[in-house]
Amino acid sequence: MSGMNAMGARHPIDLTVNGQRRSIEVFAHHTLLDVLREDLGLTGTKECCLVGECGACTVIIDGRSVDSCLVLGVEADGAEVTTVEGLAVDGRLSAVQRTFLETGAAQCGFCIPGQLVSAHALLADVPHPTRPQVEEGLAGNLCRCAGYEQIIEAVLSGADLGSSTADDGRDQGRLSTPAMGDRSATPDAELAPQ
C-alpha cells in the first residue's frame, strides 16, 4: 500500500504468520486478507466474494478457520495465523495436500487454498471425520469447478494418513526429478566454449 492513502493513519500490529513473527503497520479499515496479500505478499489466500460466503480467503486464526475478508488486520494483532503457504512443514507437503494431488481435487485451483485450510482446521478438530462431517466442514468453501467429490475424497483419505505432515521424502516445490539413465552421456561437459 502506498503511504499516500487518504484513509487515515496506519496502526502497528504484531502477529505470527506461518510461524514467523511479523511487525507491520496496517490501515484500520484493511482486512486481514488485504494485509496478507498486499502487505505481506502472501497471495496464496484468494479474494473472491469479500462477504464471507465463498471461503476462498479462509485462514486459521488461533486454531479456528476464519474468512480473512471478515477480519480487520488490526483485529489480528497478537494472533497466530496459518495460511495455505504454511501448510507444508519443512518443505514437505501435508497429508491432505498430497491426497488433494492424488485424487485430482485441484482443477482450476483458485478455491483450493481455502479448501485445504478448512480441511486442516477440520482435521485438527476431528481427526477421523465421517463424510457428512467433511461436507459440513467444507460447506463454506465454494468450488465452481465443483470438484467436490474428489475434494471430499481427498480429505477423507488425508485423514486416514494422519493429519500431520507425512514423510515420504517428497520435497515441497520440487517433485524429485528422477534420474533418467546416465547423464554423463550428454556432451555438454566437453563442449568447448566458442
Binding site: 490501515f27 467444507l138 465454494l142
Partner: protein, 770 residues
Amino acid sequence: MSSNHGAEAGAFGVGATAPRVGGLERVTGRQEYVADLPHGDALHVKLVTVDAARARVDVIDGTRARAVPGVHLVMTPADLPQPMPRFGPQRRDRPVLAVGETKYHGEPVAAVAAETPDAAEEAARLVEVDYEELPAVFTIEAALATGAPLVQEPSLRPGDPLATTNILREHRYGWGDVEAASNQADVVIEGTYAFPMVTQFAIEPHAFMAAPDGDGIAIWSSIQHPYWLQRVMADLVELPLSKVRVFAPDPGGAFGGKQHAKYEPLVAFIARRTGRPARLVLTLEETFQAVRRGAAEVRVRAGFRSDGTLVFRDIEANYLIGAYADIADRTVAKGSYTSNGPYRVPSVRIVARSVLSHTVPSTAFRGFGNPQQIWAVESNMDEAARVLEIDPLELRLRNLARRGEAFIPHETPADGDWAASVSRAAELISWGGPRQPGRGRGIAVGLKSGPTTGLSYSTVRLLGDGSVVVYAGTSDMGQGARTIFAQIAAGELGAPLEWVTVVMGDTAVVPYDQQTSASRSSVLMGNAVLAACRDVQSKIRTMAARLEGLPDDGIMVDRGEVRIGERVLPIREVLVRGLGRLGGEVIGVGEARKEADPDHPLGGTSAFYEFNCTAVEVEVDRDTGDVTVTRHVTVSDVGKALNPLQVRGQDEGAAIMGLGHTLLEHYIFDESGRIRNLGAIDYRIPTTMDLPLRMESDTVENEDGPGPYGAKGMSEGALLPVAPAVAAAVRDATGVVIRDLPLTPERVWRALHPELTGAPEVRQAIEGAR
C-alpha cells in the same frame, strides 16, 4: 503414487491417471492468477457505474474525484478516441465506456485510476454522474413488445432489416416438411419451457492489467482466447500483432465467461494515457454484471406415432441476450442448430432468435446455448413418454441415431455408440428396479456439437538430455489441458512426465491457437502436440539412419522408442549420440486444423459430438418443496479418456454445475431492471451441502473420436441433460410437471399445492390424438 514411478518413461502417458501438471502449485498457494501477479507501480482502476439498468447520462463531473490524493485519471467517454472505440467477437457493438446511455445495470460510464485501490474506490464514489433513468426491457416479452424501446440504435446495425426491432438475429434450420408430418402423428405434445438467467461465477473474479511495453503494449488477462484478445487489442490501439503481447496466466475457472475481451480495452487505454501499468480486479458483484448465460423460452411441438417413433419436431426458441452481442448470438445459433438432439426425426423446423435486452451481455457458458434447448426438448420427451405410456428410457433408445447415421442432413454423422451410454446409465441407476416410496427417477440425454472450425499450432523441443518443452497456446482453466499435452509428449518422446514442461499463456513466445472453447483442446491442440512430437520422431529417425548407415525406411520411431530391425532403443540414446559434440536439440512443429465450410449454416461441420446420458433419483419433500437428489448417474461418450482422473473431475463438476441452474440459480430483477441478487449471499451455487447423496460417473470409450488416440472433447456433456433428468424425476416422484427453472423449493411447493397458491397447474397440451 510415488514420484519414482514417474521415472519410468511413459508411465504417465495417455490413458493413465497422471497427476495434474501444475497441481503442486495449486495445493501450495504458489499458482499465480492475474490478481496475484506483482504489480509494482501499477495504477489501480475502479469502474464508475450508475444504479440503473438503462439511463441517459447527462453530465459526468470528475472534479471531486480528481481531488482525492493519489488519483491520476478520471477516464470519461470524452477522454477516449472519438468516435468511441467499440469491440466484440461477433459485432463491434460494445463501447469501451457507455456512450450517452447505459444499456444494462453495471455498465461503466467512467473509470478512475489511482495509486491505491482505496483511493480509486473513494474517487469512484466521488465521480458525480447526472443521469435520468429510462424504461428498460429485461424480459423476452417486453423486448419483443410493439413499441418497446430499442436496445441498440439502428445506426449500429446498418443494412440490417431487423434493426428497428430488438431481434438481433433470427436463425432458421430444418428439413423435411413439418406441416405435412403433423398429419401423420398419432400424438402431438406441446409445451413452452423456460431457462433462467444464470452466471458463470468463476471463483476467480476477472482480472486485467495493461502496461506500456517498449513501443507496444502488454496485456495480462485471465482469458481463454489470448490470440483473439491480441487481435482485438491490436485493432483498437492500432498496433501490429507483434507489438501487442498478451499474457494469459491460468484462469481460476472460466466456463466460457472468460472467452472474450471485457475490460482489457479500458485498462489498455488507461495505461497508454497515463504511461503507467494499470490493473483492474473485478469484485464478484461486478463479474455478475460482466458475464452471464442467455435466458431462454423454448416452445416445442413434437409429433409421435403411437409406438413412440418421432415424426416431427417444431421448435421455436427466444433467447434473451444482453445489450451487446458478445458471442451470444453464436450460442443461439449453435445451441439451436442441434436442438433436435441425437434423434432420427424426418421433419424438423427450428426457429431461434437472439433478443436484445437491457441486461448484462450474455456470453459463452459451458454448454454454449445447448442446455436451454435440451431442457425443453428432453422435458418434452418425458411428457411424451407419459402420454404414450412408453418407458422414457425406451422412448430415447427407439429414436436415437445409430453410429454413422446422418441424423442432421449435411452434418457430421453420429460419431458414437450413443445407445451404449444410455444403457450404461440405466444399468447404473437400476432403471427398471424397485424404488423407495416418495422417490422418482428421471433420465435424459444431451448432445452438443464440438468446434466447427479450428486451428492450433504447437512447437515441441526435445532438449539435449531427453527432456521436453511443449509450447501450446491453450488456456488451462482447470480442465487440465497442460497435463494432457505433457502426457502426449511424455509418451511419444519417452520422457518421464516430470521432464516435460508445457509453456502457455504468452503470445510472444507460444505459437497461435485459435481458442480454448467447445471442449476442443484435447482434440485440436492435442493433435497439434502429437503432430509436433511426430515431427521430432521423424528427425530422430533420420538421425538414427545416419548413425546406423541405414535407409530411413528401415527404422520406426513411436511411443518413445526407436526400432531398428530387431533392436529397440530409447529415443534419448539416439538423440544424445545424434546431437554429438555440439549438443543442441530437436525441434518439431505441429498443426491441427478443422476446416471451415462456407455453405454450412454454422460455417463448418462439427468436429465431434459430446454425448451424455444422465439418470437421477430424487426425493421430494411435499411439505417444503425441497428436492434432494439421492442418486446422480452421468455417463459420457469420451472416445478415449486420456486421463481418467481428469475426465472424472470434468464430468462430475459439470454435473454438479448443472444442478446449480436446475435447483438454485437465477438472476432476480427489480421492476426497473436492476439485479437484486448480486453476489454470493443472495445468488446460491452448489456447495458440499447440495451434492447428490450418491454421484456415479462413467464413460464409454470406443476410441472413435478425432483427437489423439481416439479422444473426443468432453468437458460440457455432463451438464447438458441435468435439468430435464431432475425435472423428470420430480415428475416421477410427484406427478407434477414443471416447465420453469430453477426447481426451487418455492416453485416445487407451489406446483404441488395449486389449491393453496392459486397457481394454475401445468396442463399438458395434447392435440391430434387420432
